[in-house]
């Protein structure tokens, strides 16, 4: 009788443990995405400052940034979908990189206290966003492994756990001048 009880107990326990581990991994992914999201918003909110600081210098890049900010003008951050946020973030990274490259040509602007402070803050955020993306991708790898590997894939299939996409770092972002390259230092 006892062996039978033990076998039934184990048969019940194993799927529960596997299901819980999948949930834990999925929550980890969500948790890290939430932090990444907060960082993206923080950087987005800095754009009006940057636009004001480089007024009269980097007109073309400034216009790009203004267009990006206009795109979200009538919506709160939560109303924007995750995909759109990522897209906007890529555009911001590119435009900020462009601004920084132009500023290199104006030593008086580059040396100004306002600009230096802003540059430091942007560098800091870029470094934090890059860390958050890497953490997100690591947690997605962990989660996807569990979704695809035997035996957790059986539970994942039954409970409809889907593979998650990585946070792609666009190639042109990796090459972006000034901010991205210096933030990697």
């Amino acid at each position: 009788m006892w062996p039978l009880i033990i076998v039934v107990f184990v048969l019940l326990l194993v799927p529960i443990v596997m299901y819980n581990s999948l949930i834990a991994r999925r929550n980890q992914v969500r948790n890290i995405f939430a932090t990444t999201d907060a960082l993206l918003k923080k950087r987005f909110d800095l754009i009006p400052n940057l636009v004001a600081t480089v007024k009269g210098y980097a007109d073309h890049e400034r216009k790009l940034l203004e267009d990006i900010t206009k795109a979200r003008a009538n919506r709160t951050w939560d109303q924007i979908s995750d995909d759109q946020k990522v897209e906007m973030d890529n555009a911001v990274t590119k435009a900020v990189g462009g601004v920084m490259a132009v500023v290199e040509k104006y030593p008086d602007l580059k040396a100004g206290e306002n600009f230096l402070h802003l540059q430091r803050t942007l560098n800091e955020l870029e470094e934090q966003i890059s860390a958050a993306r890497r953490a997100y991708n690591a947690s997605v790898t962990d989660y996807n492994n569990a979704v695809e590997m035997f035996p957790t894939n059986l539970i994942a299939g039954l409970a409809n756990f889907q593979r998650k996409a990585f946070f792609e770092v666009p190639a042109d972002e990796r090459q972006a001048p000034s901010v991205s390259s210096s933030a990697n230092a």
């Binding site: 470094e127 890059s130 958050a132 953490a135 230092a185």
Partner: protein
């Protein structure tokens, strides 16, 4: 960073004169050792002769060599300490100044035990803690300090006759380095030599993740770095904020350059680096001549290794919000 060629010039121009004075002192230390050995030997022979002459063991036969050993030992010990102190004051302090003018050297001080414990690299509280050769100063924008540290814990065992014996075990022996880190952070991150993964592969990674005292295992993307180190932290994002891809690369290079076990921790806005050594650092040679460039080069390289951490880990890069 100074080169070996510059060191050689410095050696010829500055150090050599002091080394010649110290070489005389060293000879006197060696002489006192030889004299002690000779006295003990002579006393031993005399004791043996007395024992044979009296036809049985006589107390004086044991007393003579013991008295000789104690007296000689004291003389040798005092001279040796005096010589080592003089060597450090003349040679090591000048070498430190040569490596970087902003550094100061104190032969008798060391990284304090509370600071050592604050690093949380070694969790075991030491029962005996000592160190010397303390160097501190500012390299560019980065405040640094390092010294030799030796921490030990003790165990006692009782044998069948009820005698208790104390055994001392080393927790850490080597160079302990502290610097102000160039980014703000609030989490704790530990970069430890990876033994489990090296031995057991994927299963090892599983074992690492069970190390609950250190926080979560942080799996990083750099395969070479991952092979050498296991990283733990209490915040997955901040751990990666600290360990940027380029810093991982720099730590890997530093570990290879040192050729020794290296532990790092990032706690309270500081970076702590513990480099294990089997030998005592910055100690003068006694039984071989001082007028040799090689040991000087060795002291210089040990100093450069520590000071070079600032450049090696790019701690002077202050492009983030921390100035």
């Amino acid at each position: 960073m100074k080169t070996i060629e510059e060191l050689r010039q410095f050696y010829d121009a500055v150090l050599l004169e002091d080394l010649q004075i110290l070489e005389d002192k060293r000879r006197r230390v060696v002489n006192s050792f030889i004299i002690t050995a000779a006295i003990v030997l002579a006393a031993g022979i005399a004791g043996f002769a007395i024992t044979t002459g009296m036809g049985g063991p006589a107390p004086v036969a044991f007393v003579l060599p013991v008295v000789g050993l104690i007296t000689g030992g004291i003389v040798f010990g005092v001279r040796r300490r005096d010589y080592a102190g003089d060597f450090k004051a003349r040679i090591i302090s000048q070498l430190v100044y040569f490596v970087d003018r902003n550094l100061t050297y104190n032969a008798r001080a060391c990284i304090s035990q509370p600071e050592y414990m604050a690093s949380k690299i070694f969790r075991q509280r030491p029962d005996r803690y000592k160190g010397d050769d303390y160097v501190s100063g500012r390299i560019g924008a980065t405040q640094i300090e390092f010294s030799e540290v030796h921490s030990e814990y003790k165990t006692t065992s009782t044998d069948s006759k009820g005698r208790t014996q104390t055994h001392w075990h080393t927790i850490f022996k080597g160079l302990f380095f502290i610097a102000d880190f160039n980014k703000h952070f609030t989490c704790e991150v530990f970069v430890l030599p990876d033994t489990a993964e090296k031995l057991f592969g994927r299963l090892g990674q599983k074992l690492q993740s069970l190390n609950v005292f250190r926080g979560q295992l942080v799996k990083l993307e750099d395969p070479e770095f991952e092979r050498l180190f296991a990283v733990y932290g209490n915040d997955q994002i901040q751990a990666r904020y600290i360990l940027s891809t380029s810093l991982m690369d720099r730590i890997t290079n530093f570990k290879k350059k040192s050729g020794r076990p290296v532990h790092l921790s990032f706690v309270g806005s500081k970076v702590y680096v513990a480099i294990s050594y089997g030998k005592d650092l910055f100690e003068p040679r006694i039984f071989s001549t001082l007028l040799d460039f090689r040991p000087i080069q060795e002291y210089f390289e040990d100093l450069q290794l520590a000071v070079g951490i600032v450049e090696g880990l790019s701690l002077n890069t202050r492009i983030w919000s921390k100035s």
